[in-house]
């Protein structure tokens, strides 16, 4: 196949050069009338007797084609040359067909007899080309021609033909599954036979084909045995890089005996050093799979030793771009959990030091690994490093570095003192976000080592005024409450916090409540008033049910102080750094899947990709596991917190369920992701309930505002009603709201909702105009962006109430006018793929339901039921004329309008199916 394409570039490049030069002069080369002239001339040249002239003409046609020009009118003229004896011309014609067949397979099928003839040609290049071309004609009818030719090609004496045929078998599988896996047709047997043939190119293409078919069919078509294993291992070093990837992966899928495992690992080890990271990682995968099978300690040690330098090389920025480093780091994170001592040495640790111009995702992964490698022996080095990160300019990274120090403190009890010292040093710098992050971390340290570091509380208290993040505030309040007996002015401090109680978010409110109760139990004389005040605010003034309930529980509990002390001040379960560890069985699964998506997201394949495999772009639906890996770490740490903590953490979440807070009875909740909206776009029946388009728990970048929307008409004009609930801690005053170019050309001209104070809901009706840009993408939904102080959120608003835009009253009523308009306008046609009903009364009812007026119904042929119905309506001051054709049980919609025909026809489609 390659042979054919190679001669084109010169021609192409020439043509391209001339094209660009012409474009630069400002002329749209392809749209001038010249083009038609050139096509005509080509047509003439293609019929010439002289081979050279025809050859030139075909080259030009191909150049046109690559540049995107439609050269289909020349198809018949081009293929006339296919029977030529001139090798070069033949290859050119094939190249043309290969490119053409993707678009118009039926036309390409016309010359199939020539392909079969060429599959017998004496030149192996022609034979391979014929096979490849047939594989590109992806329609079922090709099967009967391709099967015999392909069978023969798989047994061809030429390696090049065999290799091409192997790949072509995968193409055949896409066209017709049954015939490939059918044991009578023995395609699989033949592919397997190719593996023992020796030529590395043939072997690896056969392996690639078998793997791919195996994956698509879900059957183990490979069925590797020890003979094949030996053949693959022997070929390994002779293959090119991609071949090695396929072979290594095939090896990793095999279940070897111990003896086999040892010898294969020896063969695989040199590939660890390969410059291509995909090869190196595939080799690591084989070793991860085989190593547990080997009992010899020396073999294990030798292999692990051999793995170390290549792993480090994967991080080398002068060989690998950051993207590859990232994948390597995620995989390494798994490997060092299984082999924790592998990289703890100083020399290896240093490889994970972050550099200031690394992308943030590389830096964060390096931090993660450094925390994993942290040990009593190397913590000093790590702390110095983390300290310098905490002084960089990138806020997100600084926060992660501070957290990392805290995790080291919890992981290494003997060195906790040192970590705390570093944290204190950082807090003393007074840099706001360092202080806040430091306090969050120190709370955890207090949990792990109770009563050990309370002398630092003084330093923390110096920074009370600078706290403005809920988590930091809640942590500080927790610390004061826990140690209120030992902080002399604890009642004052808590009183200060309690003063702003009603303005705080639930997280801080709950923390204050618990802390005040603790204070009261420690110092009953001093805190009596405060606790009463807080409890009465909680139970009387606040409408957050969790807060209220907890208020009542404490109130009741405090009736019996002895019991209360036992419960509230009791011993809390310890926390540990183990929470970041992946559970052993899961780790086994993940390690067996090194170098896959699973190993990047640290989720077993079954959770990641539905059913382990999906084959087309439309089947996946897994919005619920869509949290990023960072989030999963955090959520797992939450799980292990004590019950008390859980109550604090979990309850607000339950309250955050988007539906009931809006005071709407179960309006459909739509996931925040655009695709989830898209999965049920127009079919949703026009409901009167607002649809939640943005939930408050939307992730780190934008959280705290919940929005539900509904399209409606006000005084005859379209508007969007927004129900906005502010779940953040701050009042929202500034709003910017924009629509992206959408299918209706809707535009939001004005958006001035009132200030939304925390916890309240505001209904605002935004007037809409039709002056926006029209885009033909995203039918049935409108992408919108909302900017507030909280950040920018993007979401999709489904639009399904078509009666809002179709105006029956403005529609043409006069049949004559209808007819004359019908003649004037261009026709748009769309067969309705799966109509819900096909009888005229259903069609009439459905379309009238969306705001159309029936004009006429005519029976064309009573015997076949061929009939048509005409309807008219008006959309945005524009007449829309619709015809629905009833033809042998199918519906075909025709639609004529100035601008909105495409939209109208899609609406008809969605109303009927």
């Amino acid at each position: 196949p390659r042979s054919s394409t190679m001669e084109i570039p010169a021609v192409l490049a020439q043509d391209e050069a001339s094209m660009t030069s012409r474009r630069k002069k400002g002329g749209e080369y392809f749209k001038t009338s010249n083009q038609r002239g050139e096509i005509n001339e080509l047509k003439k040249n293609l019929k010439e007797q002289k081979t050279e002239v025809r050859k030139d003409a075909v080259k030009k046609v191909i150049a046109f084609m690559t540049c995107g020009t439609d050269v289909s009118p020349l198809f018949n003229d081009v293929v006339q040359s296919i029977g030529t004896s001139d090798l070069e011309l033949k290859k050119l014609v094939y190249l043309y067909i290969i490119n053409y067949a993707r678009k118009q397979p039926d036309a390409a099928l016309k010359v199939v007899s020539q392909f079969r003839k060429d599959a017998q040609n004496s030149d192996p290049l022609i034979r391979a080309l014929a096979i490849r071309t047939m594989g590109c004609i992806r329609i079922p009818k090709i099967t009967q021609h391709l099967v015999p030719a392909l069978k023969q090609a798989l047994k061809d004496k030429d390696d090049y033909v065999k290799k091409t045929a192997a790949i072509c078998t995968v193409k055949l599988y896409d066209i017709n599954k049954e015939v490939v896996v059918d044991s009578k047709e023995d395609f699989i047997t033949r592919l397997r036979a190719l593996i023992s043939e020796g030529n590395p190119m043939v072997v690896f293409n056969a392996v690639a084909a078998l793997t791919e078919i195996g994956m698509k069919s879900g059957k183990d078509v490979f069925a590797m045995d020890s003979n094949m294993l030996r053949a693959l291992a022997a070929t390994l070093s002779e293959c090119n890089e991609w071949g090695q990837v396929y072979l290594l992966d095939a090896l990793a899928a095999y279940e070897p005996s111990e003896k086999e495992a040892t010898s294969i690992m020896q063969r695989v080890t040199p590939q660890l050093k390969h410059k291509n990271a995909a090869v190196a990682m595939s080799a690591i995968k084989v070793i991860m799979k085989y190593l547990p099978l080997v009992e010899s300690k020396t073999t294990r040690k030798v292999t692990l030793d051999a793995m170390r330098p290549p792993l480090i090389t994967l991080l080398n920025h002068s060989i690998h771009p950051p993207e590859i480093q990232y994948v390597a780091l995620r995989n390494m994170n798994l490997i060092i959990q299984r082999f924790p001592d592998m990289l703890t040495g100083f020399q290896y640790l240093k490889e994970f030091f972050c550099e200031y111009n690394d992308p943030i995702y590389v830096k964060i992964e390096k931090l993660e690994i450094m925390v994993r490698l942290a040990a009593n022996s190397n913590i000093d080095l790590i702390l110095t490093e983390f300290k310098s990160y905490a002084k960089e300019a990138d806020t997100e990274f600084v926060r992660k570095a501070v957290r990392a120090i805290g995790r080291c403190a919890i992981k290494l009890p003997e060195k906790a003192q040192k970590c705390v010292q570093v944290l204190l040093e950082l807090i003393k710098t007074g840099v706001n976000y360092v202080v806040q992050e430091g306090i969050i971390v120190i709370k955890d340290i207090f949990r792990k080592y109770p009563n050990k570091y309370e002398q630092i509380i003084g330093v923390l208290c110096d920074n009370l005024d600078s706290l403005d993040e809920p988590e930091a505030k809640a942590s500080m309040v927790w610390i004061i409450g826990e140690y209120s007996a030992r902080i002399s002015n604890s009642e004052e401090l808590l009183k200060n916090f309690a003063e702003t109680f009603e303005n705080e978010g639930p997280q801080v409110q709950l923390a204050i409540l618990t802390a005040v109760v603790k204070l009261f139990l420690y110092k009953p004389n001093k805190a009596g008033d405060l606790v009463k005040e807080v409890l009465s605010t909680c139970t009387k003034k606040v409408d957050n049910p969790d807060l209220r309930d907890r208020g009542f529980v404490y109130w009741r509990l405090l009736m019996n102080p002895a019991t209360a002390k036992q419960i509230v001040l009791g011993k809390k379960p310890e926390i540990s750094d183990q929470t970041f560890q992946i559970e052993s069985k899961t780790l086994d699964v993940l390690l067996a899947n090194v170098n896959t998506l699973s190993s990047i997201f640290h989720k077993p394949p079954a959770q990641l990709v539905k059913g382990g495999r999906t084959t087309n772009f439309k089947t996946k639906d897994q919005a619920d596991d869509e949290d990023s890996s960072d989030d999963s770490d955090e959520s797992s740490s939450e799980d292990e917190e004590s019950e008390e903590e859980e109550a604090e953490e979990e309850k607000p979440k339950a309250a955050a369920a988007p539906t009931n807070l809006l005071g709407l009875d179960d309006g459909p909740t739509i996931e925040e992701s655009p695709a989830a909206v898209e999965s049920k776009p127009t079919t949703a029946s026009p409901s009167n309930k607002p649809v939640v388009v943005l939930s408050a728990t939307r992730g780190q970048n934008f959280a705290g505002l919940e929005v539900a929307t509904k399209f409606a008409k006000r005084n005859g004009d379209l508007c969007l009603n927004l129900y906005m609930k502010n779940k953040s801690q701050q009042p929202l005053t500034k709003f910017l709201f924009k629509f992206n170019a959408n299918f209706l050309g809707l535009n939001c001209a004005e958006f001035k909702p009132p200030t939304i104070s925390p916890g309240s809901t505001v209904q605002y009706s935004a007037p809409l105009t039709y002056e926006g840009k029209i885009s033909d993408q995203n039918f049935g939904q409108i992408q919108a962006a909302l900017k507030t102080q909280l950040g920018v959120a993007f979401f999709y608003i489904p639009f399904s109430d078509w009666s809002l835009i179709f105006d029956k009253d403005e529609a043409i009523e006069d049949p004559k006018e209808f007819l004359s308009k019908w003649e004037d306008l261009e026709d748009h046609k769309l067969p309705i793929s799966s109509p819900k009903g096909t009888d005229p009364s259903f069609v009439q009812k459905s379309l009238e339901g969306v705001g159309m007026r029936k004009m006429a119904y005519r029976q064309l042929d009573a015997s076949t039921g061929h009939a048509c119905m005409f309807l008219s309506s008006n959309i945005l001051d524009e007449d829309v004329l619709v015809e629905v054709e009833f033809k042998s049980g199918n519906l075909i919609a025709h639609c004529r309008a100035d601008k909105h025909a495409e939209v109208a026809i899609k609406i008809v489609d969605s109303a009927l199916s």
Partner: protein, 437 residues
Amino acid sequence: RPRQTGGGTPTRPRHPCAKMFPNLFIINSTGEVLIEKHWEGKAPRKVVETFMEQQVKKERKIDVTPVIETPKCFLVHSRRGDIVLLTAINKETAPLFVLEIHNKIMQVMYHYFGPSVSSRTVRDHFSLIYHLLDEMVDGGFPFTTDINQLQAMIQPPTIVNKMMETFANSDSVKKALPEGMLTKIPWRRTGVKYHSNEICFDLLEEINCIIERNSNLSVCEIKGSIVCTCRLSGMPDITLTVTHPSLIQDAVLHRCVRINRFRRDRVISFVPPDGRFTLLTYFLRGPAQLPIFVRPSITYTDGSGNVSISIGSKMREYKAIEDIKVVIPFPKEMLSSNLTANSGSVSTVETATGHHREVHWNLPRIPQNKSPTLEGSVLFPPGFKADYRPTLVVHFNVKMWNTSGLQVDGLNVTDVKYKPFRGVRTATRAGRFHVRC
């Protein structure tokens, strides 16, 4: 014979992992699709929008995670300059496989269009790129990715232009598959002919290091490579020996090097590809002799910082240290700087991402008679708590010298009748040379 294993689970579910390259979008920084190609199925263009939504969330574009999970598919991307190579995958696929193909495509583009491939380049050569992609990937499987083979099939634009000038209408296409397609030496084309035969080796070293505040070398690594420029006729067989073979024992080798001979005798023996190629790359870790010292000092008092940075040569004998550039990144809050140098030029630059304001100090070379110093102050807004310790990035070039002392010991060209011209050059430059203060 299936065995029960020691620690592992008895049966591991097999989850297949594809090695397919289903599609490629090349997009520019605003999300415009420059190239779109599908090998397996058709991914909707919407994936590009989804990708752009992820990018908008990040302060710096380079911070977008390379593998993104979206509800419908996974987006794998590589960023090179102002273009992004994006592939949407919808089944378990080895991400490195996709990333390495991206890498390969970029290498080929660099080879064809020069080292600065931008969205402009892609636009100008789109049909040539489509053509290359057609050759490089067939039905989702990598096909011809070797640059030499590709070049034999598809000529780079410059050569074509030259041809057009000289032989206006000559037919330059080749009649058969390029030789070497299925031979044992696929990297060299046959029938190479030169009037004057020459072979040159460049011993290049790059110093990557982090120098701590206390002048300790906390990380140091030398990346060395032997780059060969080969303009030899016929099928020459070359044997190269070096002075300290132990330095290169863990080297990454070009596929033409006979690996067993290298392991056994520490001799680099090979049939070279035609043109310029990297013969081997090696890495040396641990302390090394640095050609240059940098002593920074920054102290803060009440919103302003005093800066003093001096640099100088550490070489025992004189070597020209050239093209020195010291970059000092300050936080974006910096109001103004008043920095002067007794040698070279100083400028302040806002970084593209707006994250830092960088002070650039450029020196053509280190003068022999004085030691260059940069001094002055930087001003921050009142109340700004700056305990910010920038990491200086230093660039320089040294010719005729390398850190490791690796040298060519012997060079033999056999299997040819002519005596070629032979040359060896050495040079060292700063890779990622970071100085913390």
